[in-house]
Subunit: 154 residues, 6 copies
Amino acid sequence: MVCPGSFDPVTNGHLDVFARASRLFENVIVAVMVNRNKQGLFSSQERIDMVKETVAHLPNVKVEGFEGLLADFCKQRDIGAIVKGLRAVSDFDYEIGMAQLNRGLTSVETLFIATNPEFGYLSSSVVKDVASFQGDVSGLVPPAVAVRLKEKFD
Amino acid sequence: MVCPGSFDPVTNGHLDVFARASRLFENVIVAVMVNRNKQGLFSSQERIDMVKETVAHLPNVKVEGFEGLLADFCKQRDIGAIVKGLRAVSDFDYEIGMAQLNRGLTSVETLFIATNPEFGYLSSSVVKDVASFQGDVSGLVPPAVAVRLKEKFD
Amino acid sequence: MVCPGSFDPVTNGHLDVFARASRLFENVIVAVMVNRNKQGLFSSQERIDMVKETVAHLPNVKVEGFEGLLADFCKQRDIGAIVKGLRAVSDFDYEIGMAQLNRGLTSVETLFIATNPEFGYLSSSVVKDVASFQGDVSGLVPPAVAVRLKEKFD
Amino acid sequence: MVCPGSFDPVTNGHLDVFARASRLFENVIVAVMVNRNKQGLFSSQERIDMVKETVAHLPNVKVEGFEGLLADFCKQRDIGAIVKGLRAVSDFDYEIGMAQLNRGLTSVETLFIATNPEFGYLSSSVVKDVASFQGDVSGLVPPAVAVRLKEKFD
Amino acid sequence: MVCPGSFDPVTNGHLDVFARASRLFENVIVAVMVNRNKQGLFSSQERIDMVKETVAHLPNVKVEGFEGLLADFCKQRDIGAIVKGLRAVSDFDYEIGMAQLNRGLTSVETLFIATNPEFGYLSSSVVKDVASFQGDVSGLVPPAVAVRLKEKFD
Amino acid sequence: MVCPGSFDPVTNGHLDVFARASRLFENVIVAVMVNRNKQGLFSSQERIDMVKETVAHLPNVKVEGFEGLLADFCKQRDIGAIVKGLRAVSDFDYEIGMAQLNRGLTSVETLFIATNPEFGYLSSSVVKDVASFQGDVSGLVPPAVAVRLKEKFD
């Protein structure tokens, strides 16, 4: 079972999905998308490191970077299902489409889990917006991420 | 893992969800809701029987009737997750709400799987509408259900 | 080309769709659904009569009652397309599903036209609610319908 | 400013909207819709009583029953705005339509406030469903309502 | 009460929200977001000037520029509520999220008002698209804005 | 009747709409938007050429490039209706807005046709994403487009 994403940076909403997936499935891989053409706020290594620190307390969760199509990654690793958090209707349309595409490409299934409503508004973009104006991100991201955001926007 | 519903009657869309769930999880229970106050087209026994015939070829799928709250059923059976098909945005709002309610009541999680788009329009109500006007339901329901619908509306 | 509906009663929103369809297509049939099992506020004859009065000024629009499946009606008449007004997202899901069903049954296509936003909230139910409390329906329905509503709720 | 609804029964989600409205506006009227043709679980007097107990601690909130069109009620009382909680996209379409209708009838405006996400799934129907199966409603409704629900479903 | 936005440029849809808010609330501040990192079509000074000309006839509406987080701006000014126009479902998801974020950061509430359906499609982007092709924007923006758009795209 | 778009590149979903429109209307123009300020993957000439190859078997479909406002293009050609495919709710909001804008500018109507659900997830962006990672696009685009994509991403 794989939880894919850019995680630029990982938020408390992502962590909530990882933790719940780790209770439902034996092994969870968090797959951090590496995209050479798209510059994020954090480098792919930084993004991978932050996720690793964030899930260190979840023994059955592993973190890996990957490049290319998610469907290919799943096929290579013989992963049967992708798990994604669904926050809102606007997520829904996009994610249903991606699920259909991935299933068509390599038969991998996608399972959706509703985001904890407390984190319904939370995305990496929102976090970066708040941090860029020196807003308080302590309720939005794990402590290690808050520290790194402070460094970036100082 | 449990797939709940009224299944009045079971459709090819439901069957698609059962079959995909049976490939992802070791054991699948299809839980047929029995509601003494709400009269369906088929009795609860007929609905259970039709689901049983429909999943007979899936060895790790069991069918049971249940009465009461789904969250209580899951707790009694120590079931960690509900699997539901999501067809459209209008499903989404309702199902997300039910997932939040069930999680609040007994911590049971809900996993959503996107309905095969070929069956996106399909519901038990649509099937009953078409059958009531002697329309062709052969692409909409399993053969055994088509026979029973014909009997009901003759 | 056919504009189907229950029209219990016809509203200014429906009339707007009929008028625009009559400018785009050579011949328009307004098909009034007759349902023996579902009692409306107006009888099917009353509903047909009100639509006829409402479209009397549109020479290429004919009004007919029909019973059964819309897809069958289209096939019998060799009608290639259904035209439906779309008001809101909640309409969308249902209507897309019906379009898919009808196309699957008899290959009839469905074309959607966006309701005039001025009438976006308007439905036969809203009209009946307002009329039932002696509210002013003069901006919501054609004059002939307003008269009949007054008679029903006096 | 008026908060209208059926409140059959009032939930913690409704209470959250009343309390937030009472902080934003000088005077808040909770208007309990009385509908002689539609039988609820609780009588209109019971529904009014439960709301009164629920808002007793909010000094600027008054509770009244009303019959007829909300737009007429607002006009008679010279109320400029309706305040409604918005939970989900499916609420949105309906409520936007009602706002447009009410504004057309008597120029009354509608202000929407997002429901606390913790109560996003909560409705009077959900509460009645849970209570009907002896489920735990203590987190869903005020204590006085929980007692009355227990009486109804015993 | 504050109406925030980029207003690049202000449209007739924005003006409709300002005018309706000015009738419901004693004092309205239109807060024009200044973003040093994002270049708009108009400079922040031009955007502020255009809004000022547009609301000159509304005595209880003031216009100000602001930089940083809206939640901080509201806290500094002791503003209890943000008023936002809601056009469509795609607005809804985003705006509900922002409302939840802002409430979490500084307890400021957000009130939504449905856009006049006549302006439902209208956004600053649409206006710029039409103007860039020398289309007629006279029904979309106040006259002073139409003049400035003509200058920009000549 | 006109089917407008960027078609960067044309997909099997677009082709499905063209083919269905060609059965419903006497003459169909596919209008390929040329935008000098926005660089696509393919040049406007390449995009026009690919559409031409794709619809070569549909005798009543013509392909043209156009620059400027679609509403102006329709007016110049005396075209009464635009036909657009609708895939999902997120399309809906945008397309309804564009329809309202175009109708306001030059009275041109827009007719929507539901995308074949098999292609519901398909967009030019998805195709480019898959092709950029050497994924298999043979089920997503016509053969001639697949060849050109291969050339671009080799």
